[in-house]
Each structure stands twice: as structure tokens, then as C-alpha cells.
Symmetry: C2
Subunit: 320 residues, 2 copies
Amino acid sequence: MSAAISLKETAELLLANDDFAIICHASPDGDTLGGAYALCGALQKLQKRAKVLVPEEPSKRFDYLHSGIEPQEFNEEFIITIDVADSALLGKFEEKHKTPDLCIDHHVSNTGYAKRLLLDSEAAAACEVVFELIKELGDNIITADIASCLYTGISTDTGCFRFSNTTAKTHRFAAELIEYGFDCSGLNYLLFEIRTKDRIKLEKQALESVEFYLNGRCAVIIFTKEMLESADDEDINAISALPRQIEGVEAGVTFKEKEAGVWKISIRTKNYMNAQVICAKFGGGGHQRAAGCRITGDVRDCKEKILTEIERHLKKQKGE
Amino acid sequence: MSAAISLKETAELLLANDDFAIICHASPDGDTLGGAYALCGALQKLQKRAKVLVPEEPSKRFDYLHSGIEPQEFNEEFIITIDVADSALLGKFEEKHKTPDLCIDHHVSNTGYAKRLLLDSEAAAACEVVFELIKELGDNIITADIASCLYTGISTDTGCFRFSNTTAKTHRFAAELIEYGFDCSGLNYLLFEIRTKDRIKLEKQALESVEFYLNGRCAVIIFTKEMLESADDEDINAISALPRQIEGVEAGVTFKEKEAGVWKISIRTKNYMNAQVICAKFGGGGHQRAAGCRITGDVRDCKEKILTEIERHLKKQKGE
């Protein structure tokens, strides 16, 4: 089990060490990447050697995050993970770095796999914690590049300040970061607005294919392998949010065909249904309002299985 | 021409008067409504009589805005307009209230039709100005209801903190407002997430109908009267943002058929084109990156006119 340490202790630890490798989680998102590149930039600014390791290729839209980083070759001495709740999420780095020196996180579910843990489970994003840590490391460290990395994590993990994890502190951090002068509206455009023609096509197909079940309380979207071929992961994620957004829908379900007959299923629920329990039934997991699993077989049979389970839970939870 | 007055002068003026009518603009949006109900609530808290006049029925989703308002019957003595750049936007109230006592606005294009003008053209929303004004009126006026009205204006006019008008100050205001304790994530769900089945249908039609012109730098969506029949104004607004979001598009244009052959046109631009200048050519107005106008005639002719003007500006601004 990790030793919980404070911001001040973490800053002292980093100042006393060198040759850092900062590792992101698999299926890297804006928060793990933004936090890692921000901290890497800050350590380099302090004349330390630091690099970022990403277990899987990130979406191209995040390329700007390493624009302020100097590539450095060295043997890592101090291992940090950011936004990684469980060592299993380290992907190809799991075996080598099962017990990192430090984990910086905001997941209440953090398994305590690292030697030391800087955790703030009230933080909307790991980048909020990294921001506070960099301020603790010293003055005049944060550049416009570092600010744009931190803003990326904070804005993406809160759905651009929409989700319930957004707090007054989140907005105050955004205000401070914007004052470092990076192109915030350009970044917002890139993260939340831009739609490639491929995405428009995918969205159109998604809207055309929405099916409603259980008196409109469940909406299903199906993406076949062919539809997903030229699609960007971040686009698919964004579109997967759609079924739950529909009025009256409690459970939004997205079917993605990974290989012929192998379906990755994502369930997002609105107010009362536990998506995790449903997905656990099929060997999956996640959170209460967003979970996933895999099923193999004909799409109609798979849909039937999932819908039966959802109906059972709807009846139970609504006391029908 | 209006006399420009300061926040302090405006506060003194309001404290010295009574029996206020606060008027919103036609096609009322979250900013004009939020600002009007917030100020109305603040004046009532100060034991003044105040009411809000809305020239057109607002979207049902804004019903919560008047939950903190006490309906009062009286003859109005002091007329205030909020977020109304031109008296022509007062709709059915234009004739009677052509020259209001005070206009509170953030449009640089404000025509100065009111006797006095409190204008901050740097403000992302009229609600930012109203927030500052209420703070100037005294302490302990702002309730959770008033805060939710102000947050509504600020968040809707910035596309939930995405658009280029968002500043550090915008985020600081959001932070302050959230601390008044209204249900911010519930509000965000209502304003930015929920999609009715009608909206899904409209979105599908919009995506199917996108047309590209001028080497993909201009995207056009056309909503016929029939398509708009069961549509909510806010849904149409949200979908109007779509053409500009497409990769490579500088000018996104939405045509909405108000009556047979009468087109309300909304132009949203991305980086360099001045939408206001183009709309002014057709008697419209707005901001640099979002403006509107009306044209009458056959859709093909109207499109031709708008596209010719956009092409002229594209060439001029890109120095072609």
C-alpha cells in the first residue's frame, strides 16, 4: 500500500531527485497526457532530466502537448505515474514499472500500487493536482506551454466544465492558466469543436442508427467494424456519449465491433441505473454511470443479452 | 445617442428609482433572459418593484430562470433593456419603448438607442456586466437563484467556456457564482447535454444537408419551415454552430426559413472573417465571429447573394 504524501513532501522529493520517467495510462486521454507533459516541462525547467512514456499511441489531436518538451536520452531513476488508478492500466510498462516511486492521481479508486501516492480525490482532474504541485516546486516555472497542457487535462476531464466534477476551484485554475497566454480558444476548438469530415459521417450514421427500447428508456447505437475503420478514438468516445443525452433515456448503449463478431460495449447511465453491475455480468467493469464489457456473437443475440439485463435492472431499481 | 455611464453611476441610478420593467431581446437566449431575471430578482431583493418583459416566448428549458421572481403588477416607470444591441430587437415592445432609460449590454455594435448605456464590449456576456452591477448595488443581494440566472447567461454566451470571448474573468465569475450553491451540473445537463428526439431528428437532417462551397471554406445548412415546425429555438441555435465546427471551414452559414421565402441567416466564422461586416451588408448585425441577418427570396438566390459576399471577404482578407 502506498504512503500518502502531501504536496509539499512531493515537491521536496522531486527537487531531491533526477532522471524522471513519467508514465501515462493506456488509452491515454487529455488528463494523463497533459499532466505528464506539464510535469515533464516543469522538471526540465528546473534543469532536471525528464521524459514521458505513453503505453499506447495517443490521438493525433494531442500532438501539441509535447511542443515545449526537449527530448532527452538517459536511464530513468525515478518513476512517476499520473492519473493511473491501477498498475494494470500501465499497459506495456506494467511489468517493468509495477511499483513506481510516485503516483499522482485523483481517482478515489486508486489501488495504492505505487511507493508513494499524492492523491486528491476531490480534484476534477489529475492536472489540478499537477498544477498545485508545480506551484509548490517554485516560482516562474509555468510557461504558456505548460499552462496549455494543464488546461487540456482540466477541460477534457470535465467535458469543458460541464460535468458534475467541475468545482469553483476548477474554474479558478482555468482562469489562472489562461493568464499564461496560450491560445485557449484555439485549443477549445481543437478539443471540443472541430469535426473532421470522417466524424460528421460517423455522427450521421450514429444518428441514423439509434434504436430505442424499453419504452424509450434505453437507446442503442451500433458501430460496425467498417464504420470504425477511419475513425479517431476521441471521436468515437464523444459520439458514445450521445445515446444517454437523449431525453427520457436512462441507459445509453454503444456497440463497437472490434473484430468480426467481437463487440465492445459501453453503457452510460443517467440517474439511477448502475452500469458497472450490468457490465460485471459480462466480465466487464467501470464506474456507476459509465462502464464497459465485451461480448462475442451475432449482433442481434448480443443486443438481446444486454437488453434483457438492463430490463431486469430497470424493473428492480424502479420497483416494477 | 446614449450617454455612457459607469457601473457606479448605474447602481446609483437604480437605487434612486423604482417600478422597473426589464426588457429582453426577441429570439430570447440565455444571456438576455438570465440577465433580466437576475437583475429583476436583485431589484426585488432591494424592495423595489420589478418585472421582466419578453417579446417572444422563450424556450421551455429556460423556465427555471423565473423561479426566484415574485410576479408584480404595477405601471412601469423605468425601462431597462439587457443584451439588446438595437431597438429593432425589442420586437413587439419596440414602438412603446424605443428609447429606454437604460441599456445594459456587451455588444460593441450597440446603436446607442437608450438614454443611458452601460456597455462593456470586452465582457463575454451581458450577464458579466449584470453580475458586476448587482455587486455594486450592495452586499448580500445575490441568492442561489440569481447566481443560476447569471451563470446561465455566461455559460450559454460562451458555449460553456469554449468560445474565444471566454476570458480569465469569465472563469472567475463562474467560480464565484458556483459558490452560491445552485445545482450547476444539473443546469449544464439541461443547457448543454439533453437532446430531445425532435433535436436528434433535426441534427440528422442538418448533417444530411450540409453543403460545402469556396473550396470547403464555407459550409451551409438549410432549415426549411417544415423542418423547423416542431423545433426548439435553443436546439436550432446549437445546431447552427455545426457548420463552423467542420474541419477547414472558416464561415458556417445557417439558413432558417421563418415564413415562406423569408430567411433568417446566421453566420459564424472561425479565425479571420468578420461575420458582422457581412451581415451588415444585408441590414443585420452581431459580433465579429457570430452575426445574423434576414433576406427575402428564393433560397438559391439568397444563398448566391450570401456566398458572393463571403467570397469577396475571403479574397480580401486572405489577400487573394
